[in-house]
């Protein structure tokens, strides 16, 4: 492969990114035109600035040569474009803030890709990452403020942040480092208790402890969605590292026991489950959100009302938890399926790299981050559709929210970084 010279025409990475940016930009254009006063709408600025952010990043990253996996990068750009368009349509003021979230997120990703010499550096700090993660969650318990039923926010004056978003990425880093060291032992050593193969407690102990601590923290914060994610990602990474299905089954049993206990102990969990079983019975109370969301999804039909032409404003928490329902209404079944497909692509590419990376740490990071994004997207999309109990997690790259957006970009930057290492190893001439 030769180095491209300016004027030689668009590279595949150029075309991929342009294609990915187009739907979001088109949706922003339509939303702007459909608004009351298109001439004075901030939509034009949001639209132009959004394009600028990704084009700048693309050029800074050497037009794809230093981005790592261009498919992954473009998919993320596609999702953030659609999300920004829907936020713009719902609330232009939120859109300009969301734009800055995307800007910061992309900047963080670029910095990670350009500055970090090697993912192996992170590995050395795995216990620091775990400690940071715990401190973040602990601080939230002590000083957190409640919003939307969960005490998961830190009020820092001008901005409020959700430390659990950063904690998730840090936790994946810790799991990856720890599993790399112990995975061979986890796979081999086992004792038989009541006919069930159990791993040696000295290896699996710290992991379970870690999981228990984070779960306790989250139960105190009443952030059910984050708790489910921490646990799910932990199980998936443990399975990837050890290859032992029995761990997953044991974990699932733990989850069932924990879930039953939460159902008995916490009224807010009980309500979620009851509403999930029969939302129509709680049409005027706790089931209102899900039913309104289903109305919106159905109203979108096959190709949607068109950005700016539906009534997604009547869905509660539309820009954050329920953005997927708003997308369904205005972009239809086809738009929503494209979003689902984008997450499938992120999962597929992440694991594809995981299976090719020589370094176990990088592979576990790639698998862990893709699990996190895929599982989080599943949790909220399925929740919005009434398929699983609703938990308040964001749709990665799409929902309004700075902490989630920046953390998601940071996470995907790690996968991009890992994929670039492999590209270098295999094709040393790329980017020379």
């Amino acid at each position: 492969m030769r180095r491209r010279v300016p004027g030689e025409g668009p590279s595949p990475a150029d075309i991929l990114l342009a294609t990915a940016l187009l739907p979001g930009m088109l949706a922003m254009l339509m939303a702007t035109l459909a608004s009351g006063s298109p001439a004075r709408s901030p939509g034009w600025i949001v639209l132009a600035a959004f394009a600028m952010v990704f084009l700048t990043a693309h050029i800074v990253l050497g037009r794809g040569t230093r981005t790592g996996d261009p498919v992954l990068f473009s998919t993320v750009a596609f999702l953030s474009g659609l999300g920004l368009a829907e936020v713009l349509r719902l609330d232009p003021v939120l859109a300009s803030r969301q734009l800055s979230h995307v800007g910061i997120g992309v900047a963080v990703a670029c910095a990670t890709l350009i500055l970090s010499p090697d993912l192996g550096v992170l590995e050395k700090y795995k216990y620091v990452a775990a400690a940071c993660s715990l401190v973040l969650l602990g601080v939230t318990i002590l000083f957190g403020v409640e919003a939307g039923g969960a005490r998961s926010w830190l009020d820092l004056g001008p901005v409020a942040i959700q430390p659990s978003e950063a904690a998730k990425i840090l936790m994946v880093t810790f799991y990856a480092g720890y599993l790399k060291d112990t995975r061979v032992l986890l796979r081999k050593s086992s004792r038989r208790v009541l006919g069930i193969l159990l791993p040696d407690p000295s290896y699996v102990g710290p992991l379970v402890l870690m999981w228990g601590i984070s779960l306790v923290l989250l139960v105190f914060q009443k952030d059910l969605g984050a708790a489910v994610l921490f646990f799910g990602v932990f199980l998936l990474m443990l399975y990837v590292g050890s290859g032992r299905l029995s761990y997953v089954l044991g974990g699932a049993a733990l989850l069932a026991v924990g879930g039953a206990a939460c159902y008995k102990l916490f009224p807010h969990v009980r309500v979620r489950i009851d509403v999930w079983v029969s939302p129509w019975r709680f049409l005027d109370s706790e089931g209102y959100q899900v039913v309104q969301s289903l109305f919106a999804v159905a109203d979108g039909g096959l190709i949607g009302r068109g950005p700016g032409l539906g009534m997604p404003g009547v869905i509660p928490a539309a820009p954050t938890d329920f953005i997927f329902a708003a997308i369904c209404e205005e972009m239809g079944l086809l738009g929503a399926l494209a979003v689902v497909a984008a997450y499938a692509l992120i999962v597929y590419r992440g694991f594809w790299w995981a299976s090719r990376l020589h370094d176990d740490f990088s592979a576990l990071i790639a698998a862990g981050i893709s699990s996190l994004i895929g599982l989080q997207a599943f949790t909220i999309m399925a929740g919005v559709l009434g398929l699983v109990p609703l938990t308040g997690v964001t749709l990665p790259f799409v929902s309004y929210g700075g902490s989630s957006m920046i953390a998601s970009f940071a996470g995907v930057a790690l996968v991009l970084r890992a994929s670039r290492d492999l590209a270098r190893e295999r094709m040393p001439q790329v980017g020379q």
């Binding site: 109305f295 039909g301 190709i303 009302r305 999309m381 559709l385």
Partner: protein, 471 residues
């Protein structure tokens, strides 16, 4: 790690595919229902902009339509169709067909389609909802209205060959256009004027159930058409020496030795108590189920099928009571009509329907109801024999008042005991017996004798139906 990586990624991808399938289910399968749901706030918004579709009778007569785009509704149909058609009111919501067909009347089906979306993009709002055409015949409906003359009760007239409802009414009624101004009075009136007795009213059937019992007995082969029963005017149904419950015929008149046909024609309770015992609890229960008791009754507006006793016990006394249509057995007039349809049509029970088609604003039919069968209740041979017995009941039995010169009418009357006062007067039957084209069910609440009160009403309706309808 390769295989575990592959499996973990498969698990996540399958989860996402499940989301995609659920998405398709909500949009494609549940879409129409959810988009037209009265609690969907988008519906009220669309309502303000479009001209809601009209509802028309079989002959093209307008029942209700928008006075101008955005409402209010202008009701011009026969007053007796108020329960069926229902109302649409900004404050009190929708009822009847206006409720069931809300989405189609508003044209929400098109706004969800690609063609509708294209129209919107090009700037042309659909603007008009779909029209609905009913199977109801104006002449028969008016005849039923006249014949009932404001008496409290219900009438169902339908075509047993298709299941198409030709007339349906419930008394007392209301004026759909004045629903908001009269709401207080309508909801506090103890006679329940908003309640659709024809489809939702549950009444003890009394003797009108006897043809059904005869059909169940003949199907189970526990009796023969030649069997003879002895009636001494009353029979003890109690199970022990000191349990003196009994079933008697009116004024304890002893019918003497009666055949099955005679038992139906003279409505002999004592004979039917014995028939009930011969059928037995289990076969009686199964027989009722075959006629749709305890099931749901699909219809274009809310409707209910008959119900068997709630405690589910079928002792000796209970079986005897069920066999004469008492003992907590209840049935709706619409379900009664469907069962009569099965006797008329060789045992096939047709699904009753009242909306024949839905038409787009440009006049093309976008949905047409096809006649469908709910189930085969009895064998054709059994249906034919019971039909002959019902003909005898009209020719020389208790249902003589339903007779029309020159037409062979099959029918059965009922005088159903109930805890609310004088007995309910029932008639259920069909004509012409050789090739039935019309089923008529009449109930007059607390009207007294079925033969004296309900049968003459049914005669007038049948006469109109056989004269009017384009058979």
């Amino acid at each position: 790690m390769d295989s575990s990586i592959r499996r973990a990624s498969w698990a996540l991808l399958v989860a996402l595919v499940i989301v995609a399938v659920r998405l398709g289910f909500v949009v494609v399968v549940r879409g129409q229902y959810l988009a037209g749901h009265p609690r969907n706030p988008r519906v009220a918004m669309v309502r303000r902009q479009v001209e809601r579709g009209g509802i028309y009778l079989r002959g093209g007569e307008v029942v209700v339509k928008d006075s101008s785009a955005g409402g209010p509704r202008l009701y011009t149909g026969p007053a007796s169709l108020a329960h069926l058609v229902g109302y649409e009111d900004a404050r009190y919501g929708t009822a009847g067909l206006e409720c069931t067909y809300n989405g189609l009347l508003l044209g929400l089906d098109r706004s969800r389609s690609i063609a509708g979306a294209m129209k919107r993009l090009l700037g042309g709002e659909p603007g008009r909802g779909n029209d609905i055409v009913l199977t109801v015949d104006l002449g028969i409906q008016q005849a039923a209205e006249r014949a009932m003359g404001g008496r409290q009760g219900a009438v169902v007239v339908f075509d047993p060959r298709t299941g198409a409802v030709l007339a349906i009414l419930s008394n007392p009624g209301f004026t759909p256009g004045q629903i908001s101004s009269e709401w207080e009075r309508l909801t506090s009136d103890s006679s329940g004027p908003l309640f659709n007795r024809a489809t939702l009213g549950l009444y003890p059937p009394g003797s009108v159930i006897k043809p059904i019992i005869a059909a169940i007995a003949l199907s189970a082969r526990v009796i023969d058409a030649q069997d003879v029963f002895r009636c001494t005017g009353a029979i003890k149904v109690g199970t022990s020496a000191d349990d003196n419950r009994e079933i008697s015929c009116p004024s304890r008149t002893a019918h003497g030795k009666v055949s099955l046909a005679r038992a139906i024609a003279s409505s002999c309770n004592v004979a039917f108590a014995q028939i009930g015992w011969q059928i037995g609890a289990k076969q009686l229960y199964n027989g009722f189920r075959k006629f749709g008791f305890g099931e749901s009754l699909p219809f274009d507006v809310a409707a209910t099928a008959g119900k068997l006793p709630e405690d589910g016990t079928f002792g000796r006394a209970r079986v005897a009571q069920l066999a004469i249509g008492q003992g907590e057995l209840v049935v709706s007039p619409l379900h009664m009509a469907a069962m009569m349809g099965a006797l008329a049509e060789g045992g096939l029970m047709r699904r009753p329907y009242v909306v024949s088609e839905v038409r787009s604003p440009s006049g093309e039919t976008i949905r047409r109801t096809r006649s469908s069968i709910l189930g085969a209740s009895i064998l054709p041979s059994v249906a034919r024999r019971v039909k002959d017995m019902m003909v005898e009941a009209v020719a020389q039995g208790t249902a003589r008042a339903a007779g029309i010169p020159g037409v062979e009418v099959a029918g059965k009357t009922g005088t159903a005991e109930n805890p609310h006062g004088p007995p309910h007067a029932w008639f259920a039957g069909f004509a012409p017996a050789s090739k039935p084209s019309v089923v008529v069910v009449v109930i007059v609440e607390n009207g007294g004798s079925g033969g004296k009160v309900a049968a003459p009403i049914a005669r007038e309706i049948m006469r109109a139906a056989l004269g009017n309808s384009s058979q």
